[in-house]
Amino acid sequence: MDLSFLQQFINALQLGSLYALVALGYSMVYGVLLLINFAHGDIFMFGAFLGVFCSMTLKLPFVPTLLLSMILTALLGMTIERVAYKPLRHASRLSVVITALGVGLLLENGMLALTGADPRNYPEEFLVTTVYNIGGLSISNVKIIIIVLAFVLFLGLYLIVQRTKWGMAMRAISYDKFAVPLMGVSQNQIIALTFALGTALAAAGGILWGVAFPVLNPYMGMRVGWKAFIAAVVGGIGDVRGAFLGGLLLGFVEIFVVELGQYVGISSTWRDPIAFALLLIILVVRPTGLFGVARRQKV
């Protein structure tokens, strides 16, 4: 194995971290509400576009843009939950899922209708790319920032979920959503908090994505969303560690199918079918994902 193998490892780490950030939000919402929030990918897009607003119109630098966009997106996430999902809390689960699908379509097409079809990017001075060449290995500061930030955000979230009272309440609700309100915990507040955290992470993912791949359009969230959803499920949806790991795994699978494919004579044209087939196999072997716990059904 030569150096380019290591290079691919870094490539995979970058892509995987981005998927992981989006997958985290999917997983948290699912854990608390058992809702596949299909609008999540489009919230990710919205976060990236808010980054354009902050950096181009408000002329903010990188860190304030990231924070402001995360806050605004969190507000959007809570609004969506309040307006579109909350009234359906006692309806059939699938009506909520379809509503989420509708909210996603509305966000992406509304964005297209209101802002036009031109692709966007961030100003050049936003995050100046520097490439470090370490013994034939090319690493840019952007890659490092993305990977580090993703891990920091994940650890922060993990600590919130594991160590704080709010986090405990979240886990409790996902464990038993009928008993917890009886203990004096406000279900609405916890759900709102979950949405705020999940969507803020999606916004962070969106801005980092926009930095790494600076061509933004209103449909950018669709594919990322579907893929992150798959990552979250493979990791075991409902578990933050699983989601993060699933995201990283998806990144590695996508990159290494191309890398290893050339040794066995498979062209990179087969990347998508093979990547998805691999994930399918994981699901068949472990039907509830890597970290998922099979919910015992009471009979």
């Binding site: 030569d2 380019s4 290079q7 691919q8 490539n11 995979a12 970058q14 892509l15 097409n109 297209l112 036009g116 079809a117 031109d118 692709p119 990017n121 050049e124 790319t129 490439v131 060449n133 034939g136 090319s138 840019s140 952007v142 890659k143 994505w209 790494a212 791949f213 600076p214 061509v215 359009n217 449909y219 950018m220 669709m222 594919r223 996508e254 990159i255 290494f256 191309v258 890398e259 050339q262 062209s267 990179s268 044209t269 990347r271 998508d272």
Partner: protein, 407 residues
Amino acid sequence: MSKHVSRLLLVVALLVSALGGLTVAAQDDCNFVGEVPIGVIASLTGDRPKVGQSTVEAAEMVVEEINAQCGLQIDGENYEVVILVEDSESKGESAVAAATRLIVDEEVIAIIGPQASVEAVPAGQVANDRETPMISPWSTNPATTLDRPWVFRAAFLDPFQGPVVAGFAQEEFGVTTAAVLYDIASDYPKGLAENFRDAAEASGIEIVAFESFTTGDTDFSSQLTNIIRANPDVIFTPQYYNEVPLIVQQARELGYEGPILGSDSWGTPDLLDLCGDACNGLFFSTHYAPDIATDVAQTFISNYEELYGAKPDDVAALTYDAFQLLFTAIRDANSLDRADVRDALAAIELYEGVTGVMSFDEQGDPVKCAVIIKIVDGAFTYYDSACPAGFPPEDAGEPAATATPAS
């Protein structure tokens, strides 16, 4: 109370507007005796909204121009050109529905569009079956016009462009190895990538990497790492303006310093804005050079910029040409009969448009020259041109090739 008033107002409004529909519009000085309805199919939503937007902008501009000249003259009478735009949603079935609706319900004389082959191939079937002339400005799939006498196009085909780029790479850089990165799931890049590969191999260039990705991907690092390991002299990537900046930036980040070549899909000014400095010094082949001083092209570009505040892309230029070809055919035919217009279209010889001089071959595909553009200081600049053998004929005068760059 207010409710009643508003309801009353609504009723009045309804009546007024119903009457309004019956009144006759004010006539212009031109004394139009009739209309020439032309259908436009554009992908305003879906994967390619920008392409649809350029199409409609160019169409509205060209129609405004022709109507300012009192439209089309047939038998000495003025006919107003009217366009009817339908959205194809970047989907084949919607393009079919749009074409059917335009032909059957709106009774258009001809259709301009759709642009992408995914839409143009099935829509061309409808136009051909229903004997309505159709010009797809941008589609490069041979199937769009193949064995369809009623369907034409304004862009040159992959089998022409592939060798042009391969030949340029060999002459300009003397390359012996090349790599290709293309979108497997999109038919234009795939066709061009394969044509480039075949042409390159035929002329002795070794293809050391032939890597692909899927539409919508934004991370090309694994493919580019593979390509860089193979150490090619040049990378060819026939991708769209929204993917090229990503590919170029990622290639540079991963340490590739050689030249990157592209095709006519690069020719959107958005590419320059999105790419920044990274794209300077790169080359691509396309239909026309914005800085070339042919009068037609200059007028088109300055008018377009004045109207829309942005430089036209190649979709707009080709759409404009498609309209002008159609207008020429209608004038030549001196008739609004679809069959006459088709015959006149097929007979067009050496038409000089924005994108150069062209004639139609027997399949309805244009025979025209390609130009090589170099990106210099964030602008498309003319570099070279390549023409099909024996085109244009000597006596017709050289087109773009001999013109002097304006800048």
